[in-house]
């Protein structure tokens, strides 16, 4: 007897599905671990937030000893020795990246910007948010709190089902045993949407648009603001954002102009502070509004103006929940560590004043973590940073 005929219940297998989900999970972990390298990437900042983006990760392959790229082999076909089978990439096309990373296979994981945003802002929050009179900020939570007799199999609550079954058996047969499963025993988890109401908040985003802000600096500002906006949009349904751009003078601009506005003129940071402060005093009564201020500049500010700034910020700190100042600079700039503005601001002793210096794309992530650490207390300051980041 050579041809065997037996039937195996193949349909029950889910090994491949399960393991590929496990693989996906590992990809996400790897992405999360590398968020600080990824998030300030141009391809992400420039998206409309809807499409998929490719994230290069070098950390997810099954490693083993292998030969370098094998470019020789055997093939078949016509031709004479010396014929070009496949033209190589020209130097220019290959570009810098390929040159530096030759031979390393980057694993490219595809992930939606939305999901990336979710990962990114998962544990961010507006610190020192206070209960105010009119509760307007809403956040939605989905919670599995309910059990039902009908539902999709993926929500099948096995433990509850077994307990129900045992209960029924105990009642019907007097034996508390599992068995004779009936549809009636089935339990499925079900969810409720819970809406949490928070206090109202207004966020002032102030950006330096003076002539000294070159592309590099502007990029760092934009990247950080982009994430702050995404974070606010996703986390709080009703939060008001005021965009202020300033050079020597400050003005309130719409969001789309804020990110594309041209650079010009001298710098007077106090102009932005004055404008924000005036707005706060006039239209944000203390008992209703939480106020957050973020200011980004390269610190190239007039010496006289620094003192004005200090005075204004001290004044504002009496009222606002948080004032955050980010200074953008170059990797090799030593002077910017001691730039007038940041030095003056750092001399103010108040945990609600936060400063950060950004020199490179990878500084964006720690800065965000610093400024938007949920449940902030002044001592925890450093712990919120991911390992291995320097700031």
């Amino acid at each position: 007897m050579g041809v065997l005929k037996n039937k195996i219940p193949w349909d029950l297998r889910q090994r491949g599905q399960r393991d590929s989900q496990r693989h996906q999970k590992k990809i996400k972990e790897a992405i999360k671990k590398n968020l600080h390298k990824i998030i300030a990437d141009e391809s992400i900042i420039t998206t409309d937030g809807k499409r998929m983006t490719k994230v290069p990760i070098r950390y997810l392959d099954s490693y083993h000893f292998k030969h370098g790229k094998m470019r020789d082999g055997v093939g078949h076909g016509k031709g004479e020795p010396g014929d070009i089978l496949r033209p190589g990439k020209k130097e220019e096309e290959a570009g810098d990246k390929a040159g530096k990373e030759a031979g390393v296979d980057l694993y490219e994981a595809e992930i939606s910007v939305d999901e990336l945003t979710k990962m990114m802002i998962d544990d961010l929050g507006l610190p020192w948010l206070e209960e105010k009179q009119r509760k307007e900020i809403e956040t939605k939570h989905v919670e599995y709190t309910d059990l039902r007799k009908k539902g999709p199999l993926s929500n099948w609550a096995k433990k509850k089902t077994i307990i129900e079954n045992i209960k029924r058996n105990a009642i019907e047969n007097g034996k508390a045993k599992f068995g004779n499963l009936k549809e009636d025993d089935m339990r499925f988890r079900s969810w409720n949407e819970r809406i949490e109401r928070h206090s109202n908040a207004v966020v002032y985003l102030m950006m330096d648009r003076s002539g000294s802000m070159d592309d590099h600096k502007r990029y760092l500002c934009k990247a950080t603001f982009w994430w702050i906006c995404r974070f606010l949009e996703k986390t709080y349904d009703t939060v008001e954002i005021v965009f202020i751009a300033h050079d020597y003078d400050a003005k309130v601009v719409p969001e789309k102009d804020f990110f594309t506005i041209a650079n010009n003129g001298g710098t007077r940071c106090s102009s932005a502070y004055e404008l924000a402060w005036k707005d706060i005093k006039e239209s944000r009564p203390d008992n209703v509004w939480n106020v957050y201020c973020f200011h980004f500049s390269d610190g190239d500010n007039g010496r006289d103006d620094n003192d004005v700034c200090k005075k204004l910020v001290e004044e504002m700190l009496e009222r606002v929940n948080m004032f955050a100042y980010g200074e953008v600079a170059y990797q090799n700039d030593k002077w910017s560590e001691r730039s007038g503005l940041v030095t003056v601001l750092r001399s103010i002793q108040n945990p609600r004043l936060m400063t950060s210096i950004l020199k490179d794309k990878k500084d964006v992530y720690p800065t965000l973590r610093k400024f938007l650490a949920k449940e902030m207390s002044s001592e925890e300051d450093n712990d919120s940073r991911p390992e291995g980041d320097q700031l």
Binding site: K5, K66, R86
Partner: protein, 508 residues
């Protein structure tokens, strides 16, 4: 499977036996495509789960669903063999596949490379999977999968020839040896009496260069019992899969030869079906696209050629009474070319399927004429010649020796770089990467180098197990020595080129 098809499957089997095949029984299963993808990614329908299989499953699934590739059949080396047929195959495809599978099963049963494989691996793998699952429950899925990562990183470094079951090295031993004086010792005024001296032998560790990295670590590294078990399981499954890598071309060639042979002799085919078969056959056994080699095609062509040639040699032999009386099996002429044989084409083929793996199969039976006929050539990076970019891939050569070398070099050690343990003690472990020339006929010698990023990662893995610094001596393409050291502080790389040694630190 409908009754008519089942009957024809039996007929095909009877025909295969009649034509001389000696296969295991086969259990044919019609399965959904997902099962084919699943088994193709895991290697066995019952194998343990691991995220890397999931990754390859997803890859198979996407390729399959997009229509980039279709796997018609999979056959598992076991007794009885297990053949999975895609349930969407039409009847004639299934008949062809059945014939093809009898070829594979015959090859599994009779080829020397497969002789030591565990024919009960389908069940064994299931038991292994259960053990691994129990570890996952007990020690956490992350801990176990991370450890499996290490085992999978090293599982192609086994020593096929020393085999799966080995005894540990003999430890150092005190022995007494009688030392005899040299002749004429008295002339030099030396001691002339035999002396008994005490010696310690077997002090070298390992006593020879060790190729089986997993075996070495299982036996000599400190690890937890479950970790040892995981290593052992993965190593033993690696032994099961190893011969499949050794015999891709000959095995597929053999199965293709027999599906053609059986189907051509199968009488219960209508003319229309015959045409369908011919179409399917030519789709399977055709030159690879884009210049790449198709193992089905190469194997099929070489085997067909062997049959044709030996049929002729046999005919010649029958004419020569002196040869028939002699003890020779094959007779060679002055130029060392075979001219007569007592073996018929079929007999020779069965000998080849018993004795050869891919490397010897190509080395022994790829002839000049066949090489020309198949239009084989070698390709590679262009040198820095005029009007050629260094990056261009060019057609290099059509000489038989060079084609054979390039083909077999890729198959050597199943394409895995040869890494040996040369020395290991409390201080560190020394590894050595064997130098293999890319082209022995070229004037400028170049060597197969290791991919550095992967090498470093793998060294970190070995360090995790051995817990003492790991030093790997390897080389770059031009033969310059590179020394990696994996230790507590990460990886150091030391390059000593022709312009003196320089050292730099790496951090991954």
């Amino acid at each position: 499977m409908n009754a008519a098809l089942e009957k024809r499957f039996d007929e095909i089997y009877a025909l295969a036996l009649k034509m001389g095949l000696d296969p295991f029984p086969i259990s044919f299963e019609e399965v959904p495509r997902e099962i084919i993808w699943d088994t193709a990614s895991y290697g066995l329908p019952t194998r343990m789960s691991h995220w890397s299989f999931g990754k390859s499953f997803l890859h198979q699934k996407i390729n399959g669903e997009m229509g980039f590739s279709k796997i018609y059949e999979l056959i598992i080396n076991s007794n009885p063999s297990l053949a999975l047929l895609d349930e969407t195959n039409d009847d004639i495809t299934n008949l062809l596949i059945a014939a093809h599978c009898w070829g594979h099963s015959d090859f599994f049963k009779n080829n020397i490379c497969f002789a030591p494989t565990n024919r009960n691996m389908v069940n064994q793998a299931e038991a292994n999977a259960k053990v691994i699952d129990s570890f996952k429950d007990k020690y956490g899925i992350d801990a176990v999968e991370d450890w499996m990562d290490i085992a999978f990183a090293l599982d192609s470094h086994i020593d096929w020839h020393r085999g799966e079951n080995r005894v540990k090295y003999p430890g150092p031993e005190h022995v007494f040896r009688t030392k005899h004086p040299l002749p004429y010792a008295d002339l030099y005024g030396e001691n002339t009496k035999p002396q008994v001296v005490e010696e310690i032998i077997n002090t070298e560790f390992p006593p020879h260069k060790e190729k089986d990295l997993l075996w070495f670590l299982i036996n000599y590294a400190q690890m937890l019992p479950w970790q040892r078990e995981v290593f052992s399981i993965i190593r033993s499954e690696s032994f099961y899969f190893y011969p499949q890598g050794q015999t891709k071309i000959i095995n597929e060639g053999w199965a293709s030869f027999w599906h053609a042979e059986i189907m051509l002799n199968y009488e219960n085919l209508s003319p229309a079906e015959h045409l369908d078969f011919a179409t399917a056959h030519s789709r399977i056994v055709r030159p690879g696209g884009g210049g790449s080699l198709n193992p089905y095609y190469v194997g099929f062509r070489i085997l067909t050629d062997i049959k044709k040639r030996w049929d002729e040699y046999y005919k010649e032999g029958q004419k020569d009474a002196a040869f028939l009386k002699s003890n020779e099996i094959d007779h060679y002429d002055k130029d060392d070319k075979i001219v007569m044989s007592k073996m018929t084409g079929y007999e020779k083929m069965f000998q080849v399927r018993r004795e050869e793996d891919d490397v010897s199969f190509i080395g022994n039976y790829l002839t000049r004429e066949l090489c020309d006929d198949m239009n084989l050539f070698t390709y590679g990076l262009a040198g820095m010649e005029e009007d050629q970019e260094a990056d261009d891939i060019i057609l290099k050569d059509r000489k038989l020796d060079i084609v054979k070398h390039v083909m077999t070099a890729r198959l050597h050690n199943n394409g895995t770089p040869l890494i040996y343990i040369t020395d290991a003690d409390e201080v560190c472990m020394n590894l050595e990467h064997e130098m293999v020339e890319k082209d022995p006929f070229a004037e400028d010698k170049t060597y197969h180098e290791l991919e550095p990023f992967y090498a470093k990662k793998t060294l970190e893995y070995i360090y995790q197990v051995w817990k003492r610094p790991i030093i790997l001596k390897t080389h770059d393409e031009d033969g310059g020595v590179i020394r990696y050291e994996a230790g507590k502080e990460g990886i150091t790389e030391e390059v000593s080129g022709t312009d003196g040694a320089s050292s730099r630190k790496f951090k991954i």
